[in-house]
Symmetry: C2
Subunit: 220 residues, 2 copies
């Protein structure tokens, strides 16, 4: 048991109880993809970025569960380290990462969440990487009918306004919002929006496809 | 205006009015990724798979909007053709596709959907490719509080039961369900589930990460 007295502890739910975590996959577009992926995961671990996290890799992706606070900060630090290392290890080549952030549904199939108070974490702080990214971002507040949590689109529109004010949301697209900027700032935008909606809606998921080193970007 | 008398036309909304479509990206893990992606998109177009669809590619992904019926069939046929062609063009190598299916929110930011009746399309029929895929699948019924559309998890659990009965859903994982089988059957599972929930909930999104030719699978 923690003896901290921050907002989240006061709310009575640990990151594990809330099921705060992500699944991600990283795709180096190179013949050496096995070495690049393995090397990037090892680099992030060697840099201490797996502290407070539980990892489980399968054929499609890697599950990362946050076990201790600050949960969102640990997730974004780890993910930023893996993407930056994969980019570096592929010689600045084209790497795409796909990420699913989830909170509020800790089980594998059903959500057995007795919410006693939702945390309101502080925004994350991530050191810039110097690597430019373009991303496609979507946010899903998973409401139930018959609750008083409002209109799902209102939460999404508020998150897009916050990302626009921050300077990472550049333009809307069908089904997603385009984010551009340093990879650290792009990832932080998605993590902060997901955590903020999670202060109001228990079950919130966000998906992000992040591209670095794209020849399309270089040619544009 | 269409003069067809099928269920969807009777419901009064075209695929375009409902915003039925997808965004996808395809990731060949090879130095020749530019040629493989370009060639796969060209192959699918040459095979007539873009009929009834509107395509728009940007730096991160390709938007595909269905304009004519059968909307879901057109989407799954095109996607299956692209993934199979990318796998073939990379010499049977490792290719991952990420797909976002969406319906019920035709605008770029807001949902201006006046629902007069939701379509209940027939299940899609896709020719097997002979290519084995493993996927990570998630389904998001985007309800609003105060409606009578029920519990979002009940819709998800029903979809997982249907996929299990079909034989593609093999095991649950945190935040996603694992699907395995012929790539055509894996894609059809996700498309059918998304369309079925769409008969009850207007705004439904599904994400799918599909992996073929993975060395992890070969080693397992």
């Amino acid at each position: 048991m923690s003896t901290k007295t921050d907002d989240r502890t006061a709310a009575g739910a640990t990151p594990e109880q809330l099921g705060i975590g992500m699944r991600f996959s990283v795709h180096p577009h190179t013949d050496a993809f096995v070495e690049v992926i393995g090397g990037a995961l090892a680099d992030a671990a060697a840099a201490g970025r797996t502290e407070g996290l539980v990892l489980d890799t399968d054929e499609v992706s890697t599950y990362v569960g946050a076990r201790t606070e600050p949960a969102e900060q640990r997730l974004v630090d780890y993910l930023t380290a893996v993407v930056a290392a994969a980019h570096r290890r592929s010689g600045g080549g084209h790497v795409v990462a796909h990420v699913l952030f989830s909170r509020g549904c800790p089980g594998e199939v059903a959500c057995d969440l007795a919410v006693t108070g939702l945390p309101r974490p502080a925004p994350v702080q991530v050191e810039p990487t110097g690597i430019r990214a373009a991303a496609q971002w979507s946010l899903y507040p998973l409401l139930d009918g018959g609750t008083d949590a409002g209109d799902h689109m209102a939460h999404i529109e508020a998150a897009i306004r916050a990302a626009t004010a921050r300077g990472t949301a550049s333009s809307p697209a069908h089904y997603a919002t385009r984010l551009t900027g340093d990879v650290a700032d792009v990832l932080a935008t998605a993590v902060d929006a997901w955590a903020q909606v999670g202060a109001v809606v228990p079950h919130v998921v966000s998906h992000l496809t992040v591209s670095v080193g794209s020849p399309t970007a270089a040619g544009a």
